[in-house]
């Protein structure tokens, strides 16, 4: 591409930014530029200041937070500070991570109008512009609907539409898909791609989930923990040549790259370095790496060592809220040491099912057994000892002022003596690597630490059942990995685990059994590998095949003769 010949659209020279002038700056001496129509991916570990950078780039920081900045950011050669308030925002738009908190109006139509009003667009032109934009992002049908009724994916599309109405030359996306399920994420990324082709804005994307963005990237900028630029360059160079360096910083390598590196033991020829799944497929084909990706199912439980028994079972459970029936005739059974996943699209009733299993909600009909005893026969107090529940947002579970008290809380209620408490808490702190934060406020911890603490609080005794509501939602890959390690340790001790999740890779790697909930009913239950063979169920429940299976399908389709059923599966690859 001949991008380099143009003048840069946005350029940073020795730019530093910090919240507190006494402390070390968050971003240090950044120098880079963004050219017109270029697509840049910005990566870095959590807490490296990427989100702050995005707000510096469109001129909202440092003013909005009373922070300080050194060095200049120039837009078309003019420092950002020289622009009048609100002017630069018309050139540089941002879509943020949280779909719940970027709107100020009730309906889609009014939210889009809000942007146009800010730009002083004449009233006569507004309706036309709103309708055009809605059809561009595919939300024409939703024009008059209330935003809070929309799905997460559609909310992000509304956010995108209202920013694109500014007609920006640079669009910044700050983890826009972190809170979306995998199918919506892919849809959003494809939408961005087609809009970029049409409108030719430059893109600056911050994200942890790199795989689906990769094919679109011109350049990658990696920021390290200390807020310096670690690497900058073409995606092939950055990921294939510097993988070790990235891993050291806790940045995850895209799975496509990892697959190639694993098979080549690190030596990859410059000529062919795939960045998309299709390219990976043909690379494996060309290099004769036709062996499909094997299931790396991690089995923490060597059956036979422990005796397996049923810990929880529910029969014919129905639940309704008002007149609306949410669960219909659900059967589910859980063995000790088992890890099962409950999956399905938003609003299918997954979380309600989990709440019924936890005893927080009482079903309308059906029977529930926990350790062979009816739920109704359990006292609340005893039930909580044998069954834990980890909420999606760890903050909701915190009830005390320090990490120590948080872990000790349950034991204190149960009247455990002080020495024993002290001993147990210290053990848990050590196991969850929280010892150095013993006296910190739970709310002041980092995302990963909060997640670890929320699990630790459930483990004063080893529970028989542990329920998780979307534990990996909006978390980076490292936190997810840590969590899964903890869970496997628990499994080995015989705890049965239930997961509500959207992450099919997680299901593929860790789960023995998966339940698909669709319209309040279980539409599939069985081994994950069997689920991957059921395109119709995957399609209606809006599930995306895991990476491993997607690549294997690609390979099968490249050689349809060798595998007899290859052609039948073409449809499933869309997801």
């Amino acid at each position: 591409m001949s991008i380099k010949h143009h003048k840069p659209l946005l350029s940073l020279e020795n730019f530093s930014f910090g919240y507190d002038s006494d402390k070390e700056p968050l971003l240090k001496n950044l120098t880079f530029s963004i050219h017109p129509q270029e697509t840049i991916l910005c990566i870095g570990p959590s807490g490296s200041g990427k989100s702050s950078l995005s707000l510096c780039l469109n001129g909202l920081y440092p003013e909005a937070v009373e922070g300080w900045a050194k060095g200049e950011i120039m837009y078309n050669g003019t420092p950002l500070s020289h622009f009048k308030k609100g002017e630069i925002n018309k050139e540089i738009g941002v879509v943020f991570q949280d779909p719940e908190s970027q709107f100020c109006m009730v309906t889609v139509e009014n939210e889009l109008a809000f942007t146009l009003e800010n730009m002083k667009t004449p009233r006569e032109e507004m309706t036309g512009k709103i309708d055009d934009m809605l059809s561009a992002v595919g939300l024409t049908e939703e024009k008059h609907r209330a935003i809070h009724e929309l799905s997460g994916g559609n909310k992000q599309k509304v956010a995108l539409a209202s920013v694109l109405l500014l007609n920006p030359t640079l669009l910044i996306l700050d983890e826009p898909t972190a809170n979306l399920d995998p199918v919506s994420r892919l849809e959003f990324i494809e939408l961005i791609y087609s809009l970029k082709q049409e409108r030719g804005f430059a893109l600056f994307i911050i994200d942890h989930q790199l795989d689906d963005w990769l094919p679109l990237m011109d350049r990658v900028i990696a920021i390290n923990r200390r807020g310096n630029i670690l690497l900058e360059g073409k995606p092939e160079d950055v990921f294939y040549n510097e993988a070790e360096k990235l891993k050291e910083e806790g940045i995850h390598i895209p799975r496509i790259v990892e697959t190639v590196l694993d098979r080549q033991e690190g030596k990859v020829p410059e000529t062919y370095r795939p960045l998309s799944e299709a390219d990976l497929g043909s690379w494996m084909n060309v290099t004769g790496q036709m062996t499909s990706l094997i299931s790396e199912k991690i089995q923490p439980f060597d059956s036979g060592a422990n005796e397996v028994s049923e810990v929880l079972s529910i029969r014919n459970i129905s639940f309704s809220r008002g007149k609306q029936s949410i669960l219909k005739g659900i059967d589910l059974s859980l063995q000790s040491g088992e890890l099962i996943a409950i999956v399905g699209k938003n609003g299918a009733g997954k979380s309600t099912l989990l709440q019924v299993m936890s005893g927080i909600l009482a079903p309308k009909t059906g029977s529930r057994l926990l350790l062979n005893k009816q739920y109704e026969a359990w006292s609340e107090h005893e039930m909580r000892k044998v069954m834990g529940y980890v909420f999606q947002n760890p903050e909701h579970q915190f009830i005390t002022d320090t990490v120590y008290e948080e872990i000790a809380f349950g034991m204190k209620i149960n009247g455990v003596n002080q020495d024993k408490i002290e001993q147990n808490v210290n053990q848990l702190l050590k196991r969850f690597r929280l010892t150095s934060h013993k006296w910190s406020n739970p709310f002041a911890l980092s995302g990963g630490q909060k997640r670890r603490l929320s699990v630790a609080t459930m483990l004063e005794d080893t529970p028989s059942v542990l329920l998780f509501d979307e534990p990996t939602f909006g978390q980076d890959a490292q936190t997810t990995e840590e969590l899964m390690q903890m869970i496997q340790t628990l499994q080995r001790q015989g705890t049965a685990i239930v997961f509500v999740t959207h992450d099919m890779d997680l299901v593929d790697t860790y789960c023995e059994k998966v339940y698909v909930v669709y319209g309040g009913e279980v539409s599939f239950s069985g081994k994950p590998d069997e689920l991957w063979e059921r395109p119709e169920i995957l399609h209606h429940a809006k599930l995306r095949l895991p990476f491993r299976v997607r690549i294997n399908r690609l390979l099968e389709n490249l050689h349809p003769n060798e595998k007899k059923q290859g052609g039948v599966r073409a449809h499933a690859n869309i997801h």
């Binding site: 738009g93 809000f114 942007t115 909701h396 579970q397």
Partner: protein, 259 residues
């Protein structure tokens, strides 16, 4: 048709007669006005009777108890007249009876006027109209609108918190001290979240070019035209008509003075 009346003008048309009605102590004036208000609600507003009565019935109960209290405990001004009936030691005189009925009807008139406004007005349009007609600053207008969006989220979060705390084994709070403690436990995460969200929304609004300047265009142009004036006048005129009518029939009583 009521939905298309300018919300600020509608608020005026409802508010001022309600204030004036507070001074009429006879039963007929508020009764005429009540009938008028209800008639307008159903003739010109597309209000479902079921929804209206569901919201109106609690006021019936309230007005009834107001009236009853006034009858049993009248002030000196209204204790004259013949004794109509007696319950235990309470004697209800004709004056106090009518004063009670009047108070009940006034309360119902207020309720009917409020419902007329609430059921036919879009909250967004009301705020936009306050900004465009009453020069409410845009920062405040859009701030309130953004806050309004958070109300359902807030309720949902409180529900999740309750469940999460129950899972942790926190029992139902007993006693004032424990309740205070529990309030604090709920309040911190709720406020922490609210502040974070407010900050995010503010940033999102600014990044869409919002500056708080009053110089902006309006997608929903809220205008005041002849119809709005007619509407307000109708409500004013009707007040004086009902006063005149009660005067003619010899009922009128303003602030305790009979005319």
């Amino acid at each position: 048709m009521l939905t298309s009346i300018n919300p600020t003008m509608k608020a005026l048309a409802v508010l001022i007669p309600a204030l004036l009605l507070a001074f009429t102590f006879d039963p007929l004036t508020p009764f005429i006005y009540l009938v008028f208000t209800v008639a307008v609600t159903f003739l010109f507003g597309k209000v479902a009777f079921k929804r209206w009565i569901a919201m109106f019935s609690p006021f019936l109960l309230l007005a009834g108890s107001f009236a009853w209290m006034t009858m049993l405990h009248p002030s000196d001004t209204f204790s004259g007249g013949d004794v109509l009936f007696a319950i235990w030691s309470f004697q209800v005189t004709s004056d106090s009876f009518w004063a009670g009925i009047s108070l009940g009807l006034r309360s119902l008139s207020f309720a009917a006027l409020s419902l007329l406004f609430i059921l036919t007005t879009d909250s967004t349009k009301f705020m936009l109209s306050l900004m465009q007609q009453c020069k409410l600053p845009p920062k405040l207008t859009f701030g309130i609108l953004a806050g309004y969006r958070f109300l359902p989220t807030f309720r949902y979060e409180l529900q999740v918190l309750r469940q999460a705390h129950r899972i942790r084994g926190v029992g139902r709070a007993r006693g004032v001290k424990e309740r205070l403690h529990q309030f604090r436990r709920y309040a911190i995460p709720l406020f922490a979240n609210a502040i974070r969200k407010a900050e995010r929304v503010a940033l999102a609004m600014e990044s869409k070019g919002f500056t708080g300047e009053t110089d902006r265009t309006h997608y929903h142009e809220m205008t005041i035209d002849k119809r709005d004036w007619v509407f307000v006048s109708l409500f004013f005129v009707m007040f004086f008509v009902s006063v005149l009518l009660s005067y003619q029939l010899g009922f009128l009583n303003i602030f305790g003075n009979h005319f």
